[in-house]
Symmetry: C2
């Protein structure tokens, strides 16, 4: 059976070999006669998978030794709360850069915690007034030199806005939501103190959150919180403080292994850049029928958003594309328009099919 | 291939039909051509599974309409923190009944939060001095009549201690960790305000936490917390506030459907009681070679713990049983001895094999 063309924003399409591997050994993991999800998280069979996933992440991203690699739960949304709980000291302040729906939500959650903890979560800069159509330059931010950290999102999944180069917001520790930015290229994590992301974009299924963080930064986290809310305790326990989402982490392992088999992140990046170039090219070559609201220098390689002349045409576009076997093209309900997510497992051929459909649709409707 | 006999305490053995169903449709869920984990959590295909899982839980447990059914993440350990965060008011106090390692940990996490929030988490009663070998009777607890809630664990997975009848600790709302107690019989949730449990015992894979709670109780929760930490927001969003662990919830659906196919919880309970009776019978008939440290009225139907005359014999027992194809018999490192978890998917025949092994072992070594 031919797989549908899946442009979902997350949970997203997964590499077929990673899924086929999961199916092949679903009832018999590694010759044990048990499903991997029936193994104890304290047993050798699972721990080997767990440690292999961590080692593969370290290898693919060349993560420095002074960083911990954690697998947590709750998605990026849980990190929106856990980061200020650990790193926003009583009487302290954190700076937030807001460039889309997710970094805005991160600020709201931090502000809620700040209200409880007697601290502050400032908006150091925002592109909301211009409709989140570009990233904020570091020199536009009104930074607090005493900020405990600066939080921003390197890619905004809903608004299709991405930092194509890692910015530097002052000298405070940089903390970033990289959910839809993780692992489509070899990002250097050295400029950051902590980055996090939900797995359900490029890393695996939903239910696993990846955190990469400097050990020294984690050590500074608030120590009187319940242990389950502290990064430190998870780091000390190698993400086995309590039962982790074992099957999800197993699938992460499969996906990471697939990336390695593809030639690693440099090869994956070239493939992704070619997909995005083809799609943005089609938008720009449509004589205004398709319009990207995002400034050229901020256009996301992972989440391509564009508009059609009317909302009615956008609805028709999504419907007709659906009948042609293309799923997940409807923009987020808060933003409207069309969104095409081009995560690693999206085949280049799928983009070619979409671009061809776009040309036909514009000719017919334009 | 014959499945190994798996007595793991969790992640535990899962019903073969639930796993086979997952394997059969891993690459093509419900004729969609996609894995269920590649579907959007906002799409019809996944939402149908999500709502079916909730409906099956409601049906199997006859959950009253005034209760919400939530799927969260982070395991029971995360609930240890979230419960006091929502329900322990500033200046207030919660009562904890401690009957084993897990209810003790729940108290420690609540006490940490109480320290931050300016509240108290009292130990209203504990069986620690006697080594957690029995539950605490309600009349033994020193309850605070003004307590915001009373927390206890209906079953202690490590110490093998279980409330065979639901106790009533005063008039405060009753909150309970039921992780290893969920769904092996038809428990009435009406005496509780909130119960929770990690799925990885009787409900599904690790990475999903089930919460059943009175709507009115959730409504009283603290409203200034970050939204991701509030039960209310998850309830309002039908557990779709952010991306849920979709594949885990899909497997929960499969497991619940299997329970229904087996004849529901009454049939499952009869099966479980027979397994436990056979195993405790073998312990009691061994002329003291095997000794249950747990008082008869507190013996868990789900987690049977027993000791042998020496630790050396216990080690040999686990090793020889392992060679005979029986896994997961080693007691928790904090408790020692042998632990046999008899969750729903443990086949009665497996217990018969174990009992036969126990008789032979005692004869040889006794």
């Amino acid at each position: 059976m031919r797989r549908p063309i899946n442009f979902n924003a997350g949970p997203a399409t997964l590499p077929l070999p990673a899924l086929e591997r999961a199916r092949a050994e679903l009832l018999d993991f590694d010759g044990t006669g048990l499903s991997v999800m029936e193994h104890s998280h304290r047993g050798q069979a699972y721990e080997a998978v767990h440690n292999e996933a961590i080692a593969l992440l370290r290898e693919l991203l060349s993560i420095p030794a002074e960083f911990d690699v954690l697998f947590l739960q709750g998605g990026a949304s849980m990190q929106f709360a856990l980061v200020p709980m650990s790193f926003l000291p009583v009487g302290g302040s954190a700076d937030h850069v807001v460039t889309g729906a997710w970094s805005e939500k991160a600020h709201q959650e931090a502000a809620a915690w700040a209200g409880i903890a007697g601290a502050r979560a400032r908006v150091a800069g925002s592109t909301k007034e211009s409709g989140f159509t570009r990233v904020l330059r570091a020199d536009e931010a009104q930074l607090d030199p005493a900020a405990a950290y600066v939080h921003f999102a390197t890619n905004e999944t809903i608004h299709g806005v991405q930092y194509l180069e890692t910015p530097t917001f002052g000298r405070a520790p940089q903390v970033s939501d990289m959910s839809s930015d993780f692992l489509w290229r070899k990002v250097d994590v050295a400029p950051f103190s902590l980055v996090y992301g939900g797995a359900q974009k490029n890393i695996g299924p939903s239910g696993v959150t990846v955190v990469l963080a400097r050990k020294a930064f984690l050590e500074r986290g608030r120590k009187d919180l319940p242990k389950i809310l502290q990064y430190r305790t998870h780091a000390e326990a190698n993400s086995l403080l309590n039962t982790p989402p074992t099957f999800g982490i197993y699938l992460v392992r499969n996906v990471l292994d697939w990336i390695k088999t593809c030639g690693g992140l440099d090869a994956i990046e070239a493939r992704n850049r070619a997909k995005a170039a083809e799609l943005y090219g089609a938008v720009d070559a449509s004589a205004g029928f398709y319009r990207s609201p995002v400034e050229v220098g901020s256009r996301s390689v992972m989440n391509v958003v564009f508009r059609l002349p009317t909302e009615a045409l956008e609805t028709r576009f999504v419907e007709e594309a659906g009948r042609a076997g293309m799923l997940g093209l409807k923009g987020h309900r808060s933003a409207g328009g069309i969104r095409v997510s081009l995560y690693n497992a999206v085949e280049p051929e799928w983009v070619t099919v979409l671009v061809s459909f776009m040309k036909d649709f514009a000719k017919k409707a334009g």
